[in-house]
Protein backbone atom coordinates (compact mmCIF):
# COMPACT_ATOMS: atom_id res chain seq x y z
CA UNK A 1 0.00 0.00 0.00
CA UNK A 2 3.08 2.23 0.13
CA UNK A 3 2.77 2.73 -3.57
CA UNK A 4 -0.84 3.76 -3.77
CA UNK A 5 -0.69 5.89 -6.91
CA UNK A 6 1.31 3.15 -8.58
CA UNK A 7 -1.33 0.61 -7.69
CA UNK A 8 -4.18 2.85 -8.81
CA UNK A 9 -2.72 3.62 -12.23
CA UNK A 10 -1.73 -0.02 -12.69
CA UNK A 11 -5.21 -1.28 -11.92
CA UNK A 12 -6.94 1.27 -14.14
CA UNK A 13 -4.67 0.44 -17.06
CA UNK A 14 -5.19 -3.26 -16.53
CA UNK A 15 -8.90 -2.86 -17.24
CA UNK A 16 -8.37 -1.19 -20.62
CA UNK A 17 -7.62 -4.29 -22.74
CA UNK A 18 -10.71 -5.99 -21.31
CA UNK A 19 -12.81 -2.95 -22.25
CA UNK A 20 -11.52 -2.89 -25.81
CA UNK A 21 -11.96 -6.67 -26.11
CA UNK A 22 -15.61 -6.42 -25.08
CA UNK A 23 -16.17 -3.56 -27.54
CA UNK A 24 -14.40 -5.40 -30.35
CA UNK A 25 -16.48 -8.55 -29.97
CA UNK A 26 -19.65 -6.54 -29.72
CA UNK A 27 -18.73 -5.04 -33.09
CA UNK A 28 -17.98 -8.52 -34.48
CA UNK A 29 -21.37 -9.88 -33.40
CA UNK A 30 -23.27 -6.87 -34.72
CA UNK A 31 -21.30 -7.04 -38.00
CA UNK A 32 -22.02 -10.75 -38.41
CA UNK A 33 -25.69 -10.18 -37.63
CA UNK A 34 -25.88 -13.58 -35.96
CA UNK A 35 -26.65 -14.43 -32.37
CA UNK A 36 -24.16 -17.26 -32.25
CA UNK A 37 -20.71 -17.78 -33.78
CA UNK A 38 -19.26 -21.31 -33.65
CA UNK A 39 -21.70 -22.13 -30.86
CA UNK A 40 -20.79 -19.11 -28.73
CA UNK A 41 -23.32 -16.37 -28.22
CA UNK A 42 -22.07 -12.87 -27.40
CA UNK A 43 -22.33 -13.33 -23.64
CA UNK A 44 -20.56 -16.66 -23.75
CA UNK A 45 -17.79 -15.15 -25.86
CA UNK A 46 -17.09 -12.40 -23.33
CA UNK A 47 -17.40 -14.89 -20.46
CA UNK A 48 -14.92 -17.11 -22.28
CA UNK A 49 -12.43 -14.28 -22.73
CA UNK A 50 -12.70 -13.46 -19.02
CA UNK A 51 -12.30 -17.10 -18.04
CA UNK A 52 -9.09 -17.62 -20.01
CA UNK A 53 -7.50 -15.16 -17.59
CA UNK A 54 -8.27 -17.57 -14.79
CA UNK A 55 -6.85 -20.47 -16.82
CA UNK A 56 -3.69 -18.54 -17.49
CA UNK A 57 -3.40 -17.62 -13.84
CA UNK A 58 -2.95 -21.32 -13.17
CA UNK A 59 -0.99 -22.38 -16.22
CA UNK A 60 1.42 -19.50 -16.82
CA UNK A 61 4.82 -19.85 -15.18
CA UNK A 62 6.71 -16.58 -15.48
CA UNK A 63 10.44 -17.07 -15.18
CA UNK A 64 10.40 -20.82 -14.67
CA UNK A 65 12.11 -22.11 -17.81
CA UNK A 66 14.45 -19.11 -17.94
CA UNK A 67 15.41 -19.73 -14.30
CA UNK A 68 16.24 -23.37 -14.89
CA UNK A 69 18.30 -22.53 -17.96
CA UNK A 70 20.19 -19.93 -15.96
CA UNK A 71 20.97 -22.39 -13.18
CA UNK A 72 22.35 -24.81 -15.74
CA UNK A 73 24.41 -22.14 -17.45
CA UNK A 74 25.81 -20.54 -14.34
CA UNK A 75 26.40 -23.80 -12.56
CA UNK A 76 24.25 -23.03 -9.51
CA UNK A 77 22.42 -26.22 -10.36
CA UNK A 78 24.95 -28.07 -8.27
CA UNK A 79 23.21 -27.05 -5.07
CA UNK A 80 20.54 -29.61 -5.91
CA UNK A 81 23.17 -32.24 -6.46
CA UNK A 82 25.05 -31.70 -3.22
CA UNK A 83 21.96 -31.39 -1.07
CA UNK A 84 19.34 -34.04 -0.53
CA UNK A 85 16.74 -32.06 -2.53
CA UNK A 86 15.36 -33.06 -5.87
CA UNK A 87 15.35 -30.10 -8.25
CA UNK A 88 12.03 -30.76 -9.93
CA UNK A 89 10.45 -31.54 -6.57
CA UNK A 90 11.84 -28.37 -5.06
CA UNK A 91 10.71 -26.22 -7.98
CA UNK A 92 7.24 -27.77 -7.81
CA UNK A 93 6.73 -26.96 -4.15
CA UNK A 94 8.17 -23.49 -4.64
CA UNK A 95 5.87 -22.79 -7.57
CA UNK A 96 2.79 -24.21 -5.84
CA UNK A 97 3.42 -21.93 -2.84
CA UNK A 98 3.99 -18.99 -5.16
CA UNK A 99 0.80 -19.69 -7.10
CA UNK A 100 -1.29 -20.05 -3.95
CA UNK A 101 -0.02 -16.68 -2.72
CA UNK A 102 -0.50 -15.05 -6.10
CA UNK A 103 -4.01 -16.38 -6.64
CA UNK A 104 -5.04 -15.33 -3.14
CA UNK A 105 -3.59 -11.86 -3.76
CA UNK A 106 -5.39 -11.35 -7.03
CA UNK A 107 -8.65 -12.80 -5.77
CA UNK A 108 -10.16 -9.42 -4.89
CA UNK A 109 -9.42 -7.60 -8.19
CA UNK A 110 -10.74 -10.59 -10.12
CA UNK A 111 -13.80 -10.86 -7.89
CA UNK A 112 -14.53 -7.19 -8.64
CA UNK A 113 -13.96 -7.71 -12.37
CA UNK A 114 -16.24 -10.73 -12.50
CA UNK A 115 -18.85 -8.94 -10.40
CA UNK A 116 -18.90 -6.01 -12.83
CA UNK A 117 -19.15 -8.44 -15.73
CA UNK A 118 -21.65 -10.78 -14.04
CA UNK A 119 -24.26 -10.10 -16.71
CA UNK A 120 -22.14 -11.91 -19.27
CA UNK A 121 -22.59 -15.16 -17.37
CA UNK A 122 -25.97 -16.54 -18.38
CA UNK A 123 -26.04 -19.30 -15.83
CA UNK A 124 -23.90 -20.38 -12.96
CA UNK A 125 -22.51 -23.90 -13.45
CA UNK A 126 -23.73 -26.75 -11.27
CA UNK A 127 -21.57 -28.48 -8.67
CA UNK A 128 -20.45 -31.26 -11.02
CA UNK A 129 -19.22 -28.77 -13.57
CA UNK A 130 -17.51 -26.71 -10.90
CA UNK A 131 -15.72 -29.81 -9.67
CA UNK A 132 -14.56 -30.67 -13.16
CA UNK A 133 -13.49 -27.04 -13.60
CA UNK A 134 -11.37 -27.19 -10.45
CA UNK A 135 -9.73 -30.41 -11.65
CA UNK A 136 -9.08 -28.93 -15.08
CA UNK A 137 -7.39 -25.90 -13.48
CA UNK A 138 -5.13 -28.02 -11.29
CA UNK A 139 -4.20 -30.08 -14.33
CA UNK A 140 -3.68 -26.85 -16.29
CA UNK A 141 -1.14 -25.90 -13.67
CA UNK A 142 0.58 -29.27 -14.10
CA UNK A 143 0.64 -29.13 -17.89
CA UNK A 144 1.97 -25.57 -17.82
CA UNK A 145 4.52 -26.32 -15.14
CA UNK A 146 6.03 -29.49 -16.58
CA UNK A 147 5.97 -28.08 -20.08
CA UNK A 148 8.07 -25.12 -18.99
CA UNK A 149 10.40 -27.30 -16.95
CA UNK A 150 10.94 -29.38 -20.07
CA UNK A 151 11.75 -26.29 -22.12
CA UNK A 152 14.12 -25.07 -19.42
CA UNK A 153 15.93 -28.40 -19.27
CA UNK A 154 16.69 -28.19 -22.98
CA UNK A 155 19.28 -25.76 -21.63
CA UNK A 156 21.52 -28.75 -20.94
CA UNK A 157 22.00 -29.05 -24.69
CA UNK A 158 21.61 -25.45 -25.84
CA UNK A 159 23.00 -22.63 -23.75
CA UNK A 160 20.48 -20.09 -24.92
CA UNK A 161 16.90 -21.24 -24.44
CA UNK A 162 15.33 -17.89 -23.55
CA UNK A 163 15.02 -17.16 -27.24
CA UNK A 164 13.29 -20.48 -27.88
CA UNK A 165 11.08 -19.66 -24.95
CA UNK A 166 10.08 -16.27 -26.37
CA UNK A 167 8.97 -17.90 -29.58
CA UNK A 168 7.04 -20.65 -27.80
CA UNK A 169 5.33 -18.17 -25.48
CA UNK A 170 4.33 -15.87 -28.33
CA UNK A 171 2.83 -18.77 -30.25
CA UNK A 172 1.18 -20.10 -27.13
CA UNK A 173 -0.81 -16.89 -26.83
CA UNK A 174 -2.73 -17.87 -29.91
CA UNK A 175 -2.68 -21.66 -29.96
CA UNK A 176 -3.79 -22.02 -26.33
CA UNK A 177 -6.99 -20.18 -27.19
CA UNK A 178 -6.11 -17.10 -25.17
CA UNK A 179 -7.18 -14.75 -27.96
CA UNK A 180 -10.30 -16.51 -29.15
CA UNK A 181 -12.07 -19.86 -28.71
CA UNK A 182 -10.44 -22.50 -30.86
CA UNK A 183 -13.90 -23.45 -32.20
CA UNK A 184 -13.87 -20.32 -34.35
CA UNK A 185 -10.87 -21.52 -36.33
CA UNK A 186 -11.38 -23.27 -39.66
CA UNK A 187 -10.53 -26.93 -40.12
CA UNK A 188 -7.95 -28.47 -40.08
CA UNK A 189 -6.44 -25.91 -37.70
CA UNK A 190 -9.12 -26.43 -35.15
CA UNK A 191 -8.57 -30.20 -35.02
CA UNK A 192 -4.79 -29.77 -34.92
CA UNK A 193 -4.84 -27.27 -32.07
CA UNK A 194 -7.37 -29.30 -30.13
CA UNK A 195 -5.05 -32.29 -30.31
CA UNK A 196 -2.18 -30.30 -28.83
CA UNK A 197 -1.42 -29.86 -25.13
CA UNK A 198 -1.53 -26.06 -25.31
CA UNK A 199 -5.32 -25.89 -25.36
CA UNK A 200 -5.34 -27.14 -21.75
CA UNK A 201 -3.50 -23.99 -20.65
CA UNK A 202 -6.33 -21.62 -21.56
CA UNK A 203 -9.12 -22.95 -23.77
CA UNK A 204 -10.16 -26.14 -22.05
CA UNK A 205 -10.82 -24.96 -18.47
CA UNK A 206 -12.83 -22.02 -19.82
CA UNK A 207 -15.14 -24.17 -21.94
CA UNK A 208 -15.57 -26.59 -19.03
CA UNK A 209 -16.82 -23.71 -16.89
CA UNK A 210 -19.21 -22.65 -19.63
CA UNK A 211 -20.62 -26.19 -19.74
CA UNK A 212 -19.60 -26.77 -23.35
CA UNK A 213 -17.93 -30.09 -22.60
CA UNK A 214 -20.13 -32.59 -20.81
CA UNK A 215 -20.56 -36.21 -19.87
CA UNK A 216 -18.15 -38.79 -21.22
CA UNK A 217 -16.54 -36.20 -23.43
CA UNK A 218 -15.60 -34.26 -20.32
CA UNK A 219 -14.12 -37.32 -18.61
CA UNK A 220 -12.27 -38.21 -21.77
CA UNK A 221 -10.75 -34.73 -22.05
CA UNK A 222 -9.80 -34.55 -18.39
CA UNK A 223 -7.99 -37.85 -18.83
CA UNK A 224 -6.29 -36.40 -21.90
CA UNK A 225 -5.20 -33.40 -19.87
CA UNK A 226 -3.86 -35.70 -17.17
CA UNK A 227 -2.03 -37.72 -19.80
CA UNK A 228 -0.33 -34.61 -21.17
CA UNK A 229 0.65 -33.53 -17.64
CA UNK A 230 2.17 -36.96 -16.99
CA UNK A 231 3.82 -36.97 -20.40
CA UNK A 232 5.63 -33.70 -19.70
CA UNK A 233 6.44 -34.85 -16.17
CA UNK A 234 8.05 -37.98 -17.60
CA UNK A 235 9.83 -36.05 -20.30
CA UNK A 236 11.17 -33.53 -17.78
CA UNK A 237 12.46 -36.33 -15.54
CA UNK A 238 14.06 -38.08 -18.48
CA UNK A 239 15.73 -34.90 -19.77
CA UNK A 240 16.92 -34.08 -16.26
CA UNK A 241 18.59 -37.48 -15.85
CA UNK A 242 20.15 -37.38 -19.31
CA UNK A 243 21.16 -33.77 -18.84
CA UNK A 244 22.85 -34.38 -15.52
CA UNK A 245 25.10 -36.93 -17.14
CA UNK A 246 26.16 -34.31 -19.67
CA UNK A 247 26.42 -31.65 -17.03
CA UNK A 248 28.68 -33.89 -14.92
CA UNK A 249 30.95 -34.43 -17.89
CA UNK A 250 31.78 -30.74 -17.93
CA UNK A 251 32.48 -30.74 -14.24
CA UNK A 252 29.92 -28.06 -13.39
Amino acid sequence: MTYRSDFLIGTTLRFLPMVTTILLWRAVYSGAGKASLAGFNYNEMIAYLLLVHISRMFSSMPGLAGGIAREIREGTLKRYLTQPVDMIGYLTSYRVAHKVAYITMSFIPYAILFFICRDYFDKFPDLMTLGAYAISLVLAFMVGFYFEVTVGLVGFWFLEVTSLLYIVMTLNFFISGHMLPLDLLPQPWQAILKAMPFQYMAYFPAVVFLGKVEGTNLVYHLLGELAWALFFLGLARYLYRRGLRRYGAYGG
Binding site: Y3, S5, D6, I9, G10, L13, R14, L16, P17, V19, T20, L23, L24, R26, A27, V28, G31, A32, G33, K34, L37, A38, E160, S163, Y166, I167, T170, L171, F173, F174, M179, L180, L184, L185, P186
Partner: protein
Protein backbone atom coordinates in the same frame (compact mmCIF):
# COMPACT_ATOMS: atom_id res chain seq x y z
CA UNK B 1 18.57 27.35 -35.06
CA UNK B 2 19.67 25.48 -38.19
CA UNK B 3 22.95 24.72 -36.46
CA UNK B 4 21.15 23.18 -33.52
CA UNK B 5 18.98 21.02 -35.76
CA UNK B 6 22.09 19.93 -37.66
CA UNK B 7 23.88 19.07 -34.46
CA UNK B 8 21.03 16.93 -33.17
CA UNK B 9 20.52 15.19 -36.50
CA UNK B 10 24.22 14.31 -36.58
CA UNK B 11 24.05 13.12 -33.00
CA UNK B 12 21.03 10.94 -33.76
CA UNK B 13 22.86 9.46 -36.76
CA UNK B 14 25.87 8.63 -34.61
CA UNK B 15 23.72 7.06 -31.92
CA UNK B 16 21.90 5.01 -34.55
CA UNK B 17 25.16 3.72 -36.00
CA UNK B 18 26.57 2.94 -32.59
CA UNK B 19 23.50 0.97 -31.46
CA UNK B 20 23.36 -0.93 -34.75
CA UNK B 21 26.95 -2.09 -34.27
CA UNK B 22 26.17 -3.12 -30.72
CA UNK B 23 23.07 -5.00 -31.81
CA UNK B 24 24.88 -6.85 -34.58
CA UNK B 25 27.44 -8.09 -32.10
CA UNK B 26 24.71 -10.44 -30.91
CA UNK B 27 23.29 -11.52 -34.20
CA UNK B 28 21.45 -14.60 -32.92
CA UNK B 29 19.56 -12.53 -30.40
CA UNK B 30 18.73 -10.01 -33.09
CA UNK B 31 17.30 -12.73 -35.34
CA UNK B 32 15.19 -14.15 -32.53
CA UNK B 33 13.74 -10.72 -31.77
CA UNK B 34 12.76 -10.34 -35.40
CA UNK B 35 11.23 -13.80 -35.64
CA UNK B 36 9.12 -13.14 -32.55
CA UNK B 37 7.80 -10.01 -34.24
CA UNK B 38 7.06 -11.92 -37.45
CA UNK B 39 5.14 -14.52 -35.44
CA UNK B 40 3.28 -11.77 -33.65
CA UNK B 41 2.16 -10.19 -36.92
CA UNK B 42 1.20 -13.66 -38.15
CA UNK B 43 -0.96 -14.14 -35.07
CA UNK B 44 -2.67 -10.80 -35.61
CA UNK B 45 -3.40 -11.68 -39.22
CA UNK B 46 -4.66 -15.15 -38.25
CA UNK B 47 -6.88 -13.63 -35.58
CA UNK B 48 -8.54 -11.12 -37.88
CA UNK B 49 -8.78 -13.60 -40.76
CA UNK B 50 -10.73 -15.81 -38.37
CA UNK B 51 -12.94 -12.92 -37.34
CA UNK B 52 -13.59 -11.86 -40.93
CA UNK B 53 -14.52 -15.43 -41.86
CA UNK B 54 -17.61 -14.83 -39.71
CA UNK B 55 -18.48 -11.26 -40.66
CA UNK B 56 -17.96 -9.12 -43.73
CA UNK B 57 -17.54 -5.83 -41.89
CA UNK B 58 -16.25 -4.92 -38.47
CA UNK B 59 -17.60 -1.63 -37.11
CA UNK B 60 -18.02 -0.47 -40.71
CA UNK B 61 -14.54 -1.54 -41.84
CA UNK B 62 -14.23 -4.10 -44.62
CA UNK B 63 -11.54 -6.77 -44.42
CA UNK B 64 -8.90 -5.02 -46.60
CA UNK B 65 -9.58 -1.71 -44.87
CA UNK B 66 -9.20 -3.39 -41.53
CA UNK B 67 -5.91 -4.99 -42.52
CA UNK B 68 -4.68 -1.60 -43.62
CA UNK B 69 -5.50 -0.43 -40.11
CA UNK B 70 -3.63 -3.39 -38.57
CA UNK B 71 -0.61 -2.68 -40.79
CA UNK B 72 -0.71 0.99 -39.85
CA UNK B 73 -0.81 0.12 -36.15
CA UNK B 74 2.01 -2.37 -36.56
CA UNK B 75 4.23 0.11 -38.41
CA UNK B 76 3.53 2.98 -36.06
CA UNK B 77 4.02 0.90 -32.96
CA UNK B 78 7.19 -0.53 -34.47
CA UNK B 79 8.49 2.97 -35.00
CA UNK B 80 7.75 3.90 -31.39
CA UNK B 81 9.38 0.74 -30.09
CA UNK B 82 12.43 1.23 -32.26
CA UNK B 83 13.04 4.84 -31.35
CA UNK B 84 11.74 5.37 -27.84
CA UNK B 85 10.53 2.28 -26.01
CA UNK B 86 13.82 0.98 -24.66
CA UNK B 87 15.01 4.46 -23.71
CA UNK B 88 11.86 5.31 -21.82
CA UNK B 89 11.88 1.90 -20.22
CA UNK B 90 15.35 2.54 -18.92
CA UNK B 91 14.43 5.92 -17.50
CA UNK B 92 12.80 4.41 -14.41
CA UNK B 93 15.98 2.47 -13.75
CA UNK B 94 18.10 5.60 -14.19
CA UNK B 95 15.95 7.39 -11.65
CA UNK B 96 16.09 4.52 -9.18
CA UNK B 97 19.85 4.12 -9.31
CA UNK B 98 20.60 7.82 -9.59
CA UNK B 99 22.52 7.34 -12.82
CA UNK B 100 20.32 10.00 -14.34
CA UNK B 101 22.80 12.50 -12.87
CA UNK B 102 25.30 11.64 -15.59
CA UNK B 103 22.81 12.37 -18.34
CA UNK B 104 21.78 15.67 -16.81
CA UNK B 105 25.38 16.83 -16.74
CA UNK B 106 25.81 16.49 -20.50
CA UNK B 107 25.53 19.63 -22.63
CA UNK B 108 22.61 18.25 -24.62
CA UNK B 109 18.88 18.64 -24.20
CA UNK B 110 17.78 16.20 -21.48
CA UNK B 111 14.61 15.15 -23.23
CA UNK B 112 16.54 14.31 -26.38
CA UNK B 113 19.09 12.31 -24.48
CA UNK B 114 16.56 10.42 -22.38
CA UNK B 115 14.30 9.54 -25.29
CA UNK B 116 16.77 8.92 -28.13
CA UNK B 117 19.88 7.40 -26.55
CA UNK B 118 19.39 3.96 -27.98
CA UNK B 119 17.72 2.70 -31.07
CA UNK B 120 16.25 -0.76 -30.75
CA UNK B 121 16.97 -2.17 -34.18
CA UNK B 122 15.22 -5.44 -33.35
CA UNK B 123 11.82 -3.85 -33.85
CA UNK B 124 12.77 -1.74 -36.89
CA UNK B 125 11.62 -4.44 -39.37
CA UNK B 126 8.14 -4.08 -37.85
CA UNK B 127 7.84 -0.76 -39.65
CA UNK B 128 8.62 -2.49 -42.93
CA UNK B 129 6.27 -5.39 -42.19
CA UNK B 130 3.51 -2.95 -41.33
CA UNK B 131 3.98 -1.11 -44.60
CA UNK B 132 4.00 -4.39 -46.54
CA UNK B 133 0.69 -5.36 -44.92
CA UNK B 134 -0.71 -1.92 -45.77
CA UNK B 135 0.49 -2.35 -49.36
CA UNK B 136 -1.12 -5.77 -49.71
CA UNK B 137 -4.44 -4.51 -48.40
CA UNK B 138 -4.34 -1.51 -50.76
CA UNK B 139 -3.92 -3.89 -53.68
CA UNK B 140 -6.74 -6.10 -52.40
CA UNK B 141 -9.20 -3.25 -52.15
CA UNK B 142 -8.24 -1.92 -55.58
CA UNK B 143 -7.08 1.41 -54.21
CA UNK B 144 -6.72 4.25 -56.68
CA UNK B 145 -3.66 6.42 -56.49
CA UNK B 146 -4.50 9.71 -54.85
CA UNK B 147 -1.71 12.15 -53.90
CA UNK B 148 -3.95 14.11 -51.55
CA UNK B 149 -4.69 11.00 -49.50
CA UNK B 150 -1.04 10.01 -49.45
CA UNK B 151 -0.05 13.47 -48.24
CA UNK B 152 -2.76 13.38 -45.58
CA UNK B 153 -1.65 9.90 -44.55
CA UNK B 154 2.01 10.87 -44.24
CA UNK B 155 1.15 13.97 -42.25
CA UNK B 156 -1.19 12.22 -39.83
CA UNK B 157 1.07 9.17 -39.54
CA UNK B 158 3.86 11.48 -38.40
CA UNK B 159 1.49 13.26 -36.04
CA UNK B 160 0.22 9.93 -34.72
CA UNK B 161 3.74 8.75 -34.00
CA UNK B 162 4.48 12.03 -32.25
CA UNK B 163 1.31 11.80 -30.16
CA UNK B 164 2.16 8.25 -29.16
CA UNK B 165 5.65 9.40 -28.20
CA UNK B 166 4.21 12.22 -26.08
CA UNK B 167 2.00 9.78 -24.20
CA UNK B 168 4.95 7.53 -23.63
CA UNK B 169 7.00 10.44 -22.33
CA UNK B 170 4.17 11.37 -19.96
CA UNK B 171 4.04 7.81 -18.63
CA UNK B 172 7.82 7.78 -18.36
CA UNK B 173 7.96 11.03 -16.42
CA UNK B 174 5.65 9.55 -13.83
CA UNK B 175 8.44 7.24 -12.72
CA UNK B 176 10.21 10.14 -11.00
CA UNK B 177 7.43 10.13 -8.44
CA UNK B 178 6.64 6.46 -8.50
CA UNK B 179 10.04 4.97 -7.96
CA UNK B 180 8.87 1.41 -7.90
CA UNK B 181 7.31 1.72 -11.31
CA UNK B 182 5.90 -1.32 -13.00
CA UNK B 183 7.68 -1.88 -16.22
CA UNK B 184 6.86 0.89 -18.62
CA UNK B 185 6.69 -1.74 -21.31
CA UNK B 186 3.66 -3.30 -19.63
CA UNK B 187 2.00 0.05 -18.92
CA UNK B 188 2.52 1.07 -22.51
CA UNK B 189 1.11 -2.18 -23.82
CA UNK B 190 -2.00 -1.76 -21.69
CA UNK B 191 -2.46 1.89 -22.61
CA UNK B 192 -1.79 1.46 -26.33
CA UNK B 193 -4.43 -1.27 -26.47
CA UNK B 194 -6.78 1.67 -26.91
CA UNK B 195 -5.12 2.64 -30.17
CA UNK B 196 -5.21 -0.90 -31.50
CA UNK B 197 -8.82 -0.86 -32.72
CA UNK B 198 -10.94 1.42 -34.91
CA UNK B 199 -12.72 4.08 -32.91
CA UNK B 200 -16.05 2.92 -34.36
CA UNK B 201 -16.04 -0.03 -31.96
CA UNK B 202 -16.55 2.48 -29.16
CA UNK B 203 -20.32 2.31 -29.38
CA UNK B 204 -23.15 1.70 -26.97
CA UNK B 205 -24.16 3.34 -23.71
CA UNK B 206 -20.70 3.34 -22.10
CA UNK B 207 -18.58 2.82 -25.20
CA UNK B 208 -19.52 6.10 -26.79
CA UNK B 209 -18.49 8.36 -23.88
CA UNK B 210 -15.23 6.42 -23.67
CA UNK B 211 -14.67 6.95 -27.38
CA UNK B 212 -15.26 10.67 -26.92
CA UNK B 213 -12.89 10.79 -23.96
CA UNK B 214 -10.08 9.04 -25.83
CA UNK B 215 -10.57 11.07 -29.01
CA UNK B 216 -10.86 14.61 -27.73
CA UNK B 217 -9.54 14.73 -24.17
CA UNK B 218 -6.88 12.02 -24.15
CA UNK B 219 -6.45 11.70 -27.94
CA UNK B 220 -4.88 8.24 -28.10
CA UNK B 221 -7.58 6.99 -30.47
CA UNK B 222 -6.60 9.38 -33.26
CA UNK B 223 -3.08 7.92 -33.45
CA UNK B 224 -3.84 5.08 -35.87
CA UNK B 225 -7.44 5.91 -36.73
CA UNK B 226 -6.87 9.21 -38.49
CA UNK B 227 -4.05 8.10 -40.83
CA UNK B 228 -5.90 4.88 -41.72
CA UNK B 229 -9.13 6.71 -42.34
CA UNK B 230 -7.39 9.35 -44.43
CA UNK B 231 -5.88 6.69 -46.64
CA UNK B 232 -8.64 4.11 -47.15
CA UNK B 233 -11.91 5.52 -45.85
CA UNK B 234 -13.26 9.01 -45.35
CA UNK B 235 -10.87 11.89 -45.73
CA UNK B 236 -12.13 14.09 -42.93
CA UNK B 237 -10.34 17.48 -42.79
CA UNK B 238 -11.76 18.18 -39.34
CA UNK B 239 -10.09 15.11 -37.83
CA UNK B 240 -6.82 15.94 -39.55
CA UNK B 241 -6.82 19.45 -38.10
CA UNK B 242 -7.67 18.01 -34.70
CA UNK B 243 -4.75 15.58 -34.97
CA UNK B 244 -2.28 18.31 -35.89
CA UNK B 245 -3.49 20.58 -33.10
CA UNK B 246 -3.37 17.68 -30.62
CA UNK B 247 0.19 16.92 -31.70
CA UNK B 248 1.45 20.39 -30.90
CA UNK B 249 -0.54 20.61 -27.68
CA UNK B 250 0.81 17.26 -26.49
CA UNK B 251 4.38 18.09 -27.49
CA UNK B 252 4.18 21.19 -25.34
CA UNK B 253 2.40 19.47 -22.48
CA UNK B 254 4.65 16.42 -22.33
CA UNK B 255 7.78 18.56 -22.43
CA UNK B 256 6.51 20.73 -19.60
CA UNK B 257 5.60 17.64 -17.62
CA UNK B 258 8.97 16.02 -18.25
CA UNK B 259 10.81 19.14 -17.10
CA UNK B 260 8.64 19.35 -14.02
CA UNK B 261 9.49 15.72 -13.33
CA UNK B 262 13.21 16.43 -13.69
CA UNK B 263 12.95 19.34 -11.29
CA UNK B 264 11.51 17.14 -8.60
CA UNK B 265 14.11 14.44 -9.22
CA UNK B 266 16.32 14.06 -6.18
CA UNK B 267 19.30 11.96 -7.04
CA UNK B 268 19.76 8.63 -5.31
CA UNK B 269 22.11 8.05 -2.37
CA UNK B 270 23.24 10.65 0.18
Amino acid sequence: MMGTIGKYTRLLGDLARYTLVRELAFRGNFLVKISVEVIWLGILVAFFRTVFARTSTLAGWTEPQYFFFVGCFFALNGLIETLFMENCNEFAELVRTGDLDFLLLKPIDEQFLVSCRRIDWGTAPNVLMGFILMGISLVQMGWHFDPVRIAAFLLTFTCGTTIAYCFMLLLTSLSVWMVRNQSLMEMWWLFSSLARYPKEIFAGPWGEPLGFLFTFLIPILVVVNVPSNAMVRVLDPGMIVLTVVATFALLWLSRRFFQKALRSYRSASS
